[in-house]
């Protein structure tokens, strides 16, 4: 079987960090998948966000569909500095609790179109959500920076793995 789902890099935080960055991402894959298992230093809303290529210009948009266990809702942001990609467990949860985000960057290396990002955030103690984001740039994505809501620290033990997927 051809290897079409290849780990590019993985990071496990040995100490708290303001951000996590995957740099020098090869342009040889078709799509990227990021698996994040995250806890952040935030007791309330514990979303996590990304800045492709480190770009924090306020020109990004995202739309989410969210369930908090009581009701379903949808919302969006435009002209945002970051793209929401899921959830981290907050500090109000028990120690050892992390939340899972599965993030797909489609056709990330092309240099002709804007990039769409599809995410699934799973924080069982807070909310489940699906998110679509747009990175309005024709540049290939060569790095991804991940931050917590309000730029709080991402906490020790959080794990991040970036996979490359080839169409052939």
């Amino acid at each position: 079987m051809a290897s079409t789902y290849t780990p590019i890099a993985t990071q496990t935080l040995a100490s708290d960090a303001a951000s996590v960055t995957f740099s020098s991402i090869p342009s040889t894959y078709t799509d990227l998948v990021l698996i994040a298992n995250t806890r952040i230093n935030q007791s309330g809303s514990s979303e996590i966000y990304c800045a492709p290529n480190g770009v924090t210009t306020a020109n990004k948009g995202f739309t989410y569909l969210l369930g908090n266990g009581t009701s379903a809702s949808s919302g969006r942001a435009s002209n945002d500095s970051y793209i929401r990609i899921g959830n981290g467990a907050g500090t109000s949860t028990a120690s050892g609790t992390f939340a899972t985000s599965v993030v797909n960057f489609m056709n990330y290396a092309n240099t002709t179109t804007y990039k769409t990002i599809l995410s699934r955030g799973s924080d069982a103690t807070n909310a489940v959500e699906a998110i679509v984001g747009l990175f309005p740039s024709t540049s290939a994505i060569s790095s991804i920076t991940i931050v917590g809501n309000g730029l709080v620290n991402i906490l020790t033990g959080s794990t991040f793995t970036l996979y490359g997927i080839k169409a052939a």
Partner: protein, 172 residues
């Protein structure tokens, strides 16, 4: 190049079964991905015909939040039964030969932290009942996952031709 997305085991039911278990899961991967296509013989209506996923056959320690779309409404609820995969068609409510489909992704399944899971499921149908569901589940247990037991929500049995695939994913 190393294979990093590997089939650990698969099961296709040749008859009905009250549960399906993947046991002796190797501890050599980073994450697990369960893919299911299932139907049950339950005769009464449930809004969502979930498959319960119990790591190490544990019946306790679960937190779940669901987000569901039924074709006419959206809703969100909580549950504590297990990791919940919103995919499992029933005889009484679904078109014949229709199976629910879904996946369950469990990162860091060998670690000592609590186990978080991301689950997606659908139950399409040529009748009134159908849904798409996103689920966040947490098993508040520090044990490594060595087995996964799958049960239909509300009892009953999985029927013949239900299929279950378990993959291991390595991060290096």
């Amino acid at each position: 190049m190393a294979d990093t997305y590997t089939l650990i085991s698969s099961q296709t039911l040749s008859g009905s079964a009250s549960s399906v278990t993947f046991s002796s899961i190797p501890q050599t991967y980073t994450d697990l991905l369960l893919v299911a296509s299932a139907r049950t013989d339950r005769s009464y209506f449930l809004l969502v015909d979930s498959i319960l996923v119990q790591p190490n056959a544990s019946a306790t320690g679960y937190t779940t939040r669901n987000l569901l779309g039924t074709g006419s409404a959206t809703q969100s609820n909580t549950d504590t039964a297990a990791l919940q995969l919103s995919a499992g068609a029933t005889t009484s409510n679904e078109t014949a030969n229709t199976f629910g489909n879904g996946s369950c992704y469990i990162p860091n399944y060998t670690g000592s932290a609590y186990k978080s899971a991301s689950l997606d499921g659908v139950g399409e149908n040529n009748a009134t009942e159908a849904w798409a569901g996103f689920t966040a589940s947490l098993w508040s247990n520090t044990a490594a996952i060595t087995s996964l037991k799958l049960l239909p929500y509300g009892g009953a049995n999985f029927v013949q031709y239900s299929t279950f695939y378990l993959y291991g994913i390595k991060n290096s």
